[in-house]
Amino acid sequence: MLELKSPTIDRSKLLPASLRDDFPILQQIVHDEHPLVFLDNAASTQRPRQVIEVLRRVYERDYANVHRGIHTLSERSTEQYEEAREKVRAFIGAEKPTEIVFTSGTTAGINLVARSWGDANVKAGDEIIVTTMEHHSNLVPWQQLAERSGAVLKHIPITDDGLLVLDTLDTLLTERTKIVAVASVSNVLGTINPVTEITRRAHAAGAVVLIDAAQSVPHLATNVREIGADFLAFSGHKMLAPTGIGVLFGREELLDAMPAFLGGGSMINRVWEDRFTPAELPAKFEAGTPPIAPAIALGAAIDYLKLIGLENVQRHEHELCRYAYERLLEVDGLRILGAPPDRRAGLVSFTLPEPHAHDIAQLLDERGIAVRAGHHCTWPLHDRLKIAASTRASFYLYNTPAEVDLLVEVVGEIRERFRPKGRKRRGGS
């Protein structure tokens, strides 16, 4: 007890709380009397007025199908859609807009690579490396590829602290390694993985690298060229944009050499009854009518994030996360999964001896606090940690220290309520 100093927060590191006014959904009361405290941002974030407004404007003024249309609305939509691509390019530091493929989300992007690049390049006996902390979206597609091709799937293990055991990478990497697929930030542990270093080593061994950046692009400044990434995938809905839009970055050389994946409108150069030739990049990988309005709104979300400054977002989240980490440890018996605050992005997952994660989430919700509970699509990680489920609080630019305080207070109450009380079933047999 002597050592315990009450955690403090450095308000100079926080963003102004006034930006909450931009988010209509946060202004609400749930369960009759509790202001909404939204701490489920790693699953999906909310949207500022500025993004919702762009969606409305597109549908009320500018919308038509893109690319093929020679009329005012189609020209407007095409222009805005391609502008969004350019905004994405600049946001992640890609060289060319042709390296930016719009998808429906991270999952779609990773599957595109596993199917198109994977089926063309991975043969029986080849090796694929992932990590123990991958989201199912960056694991199952590689299991499927291994199954189709006869390749071997290997895992970079993690320490009990939730860090990658990077030393093992050099033994895992062989001349049969074709690809290393790794999350830049774990959606459960919060660990920020050293993707630049991993990429360097993988490249030295002749392997290609895919980065699942679903949890990093929304929060930390990303530069695909500095990382050296071959592929990088993320989702709009985790960064203030609508659902239904995601991005796959691929180096032009690789995308160019890959066979087409989904077939249909827009992805062709010429079609005959019995065959087709594929279009140039990026159309080659954008079959069918794309998510036009969501893509344009993703552009607006990027504008918003740039206005605030991603460094400021990161500092804000880091400060909140450190504070939450320290304060949650005040709760007796609470176990935080993963790394110390300085190695993690803005989320904290934890378990209590009692009750189960779902019950914690349910009881937090009754006080207005939205968190996520379960395996968070990382079943192998939960197996490794020998737990069935965990509760996760994840932050974004609109969260406040007061919300963290309330979280800690209610988690403490739940802990007390579910201490074994020697109850007996009534009339039990």
Partner: protein, 132 residues
């Protein structure tokens, strides 16, 4: 604490959670089944000893998960002990939700119905030589 339909964690539910009916294994089991809720990872296994008279002579459950999934398993088995297999089959999802008592949102209904689903499969799943 108010005890009304809205209250998920009513006292009698917590009683079942803390002092469950027949949590454990049944060495004499003739039938058994295990399943999980893929959305959250809850697991329930039910082991049954079915008599030649078509009755559930004995039943045990094991697993891990939320208060709802574990307490509902306890309630279900307490109710089924000694019942016929036909009665178990006729026990509907609605019956299960009613037995549980507290009103549940759709997501949480899945927790409550996990043990019920496992029971419905268990009565059709004779235990193999290897005890599975």
């Amino acid at each position: 604490m108010p005890i009304d339909e809205e209250e998920l964690y009513q006292e009698h539910i917590l009683d079942h959670y803390e002092d469950p009916f027949h949590r454990g294994h049944l060495p004499t089991a003739t039938h058994a089944h295990e399943d999980n809720n893929p959305l959250c990872g809850d697991v329930v296994r039910i082991e049954l000893e079915l008599g030649e008279d078509g009755k559930i002579r004995d039943c045990f459950f094991s697993g891990q998960g939320c208060v709802i999934s574990q307490a509902s398993a306890s309630m279900l088995l307490e109710k089924m002990q000694g019942k016929t297999v036909d009665e178990a089959k006729q026990f509907s999802a609605e019956d299960m939700l009613q037995l549980y008592g507290a009103r549940l949102t759709p997501n949480r209904q899945k927790c409550c119905l996990l043990s019920w689903k496992v029971l419905q499969s268990a009565v059709h799943s004779p235990v193999g030589r290897d005890g599975t």
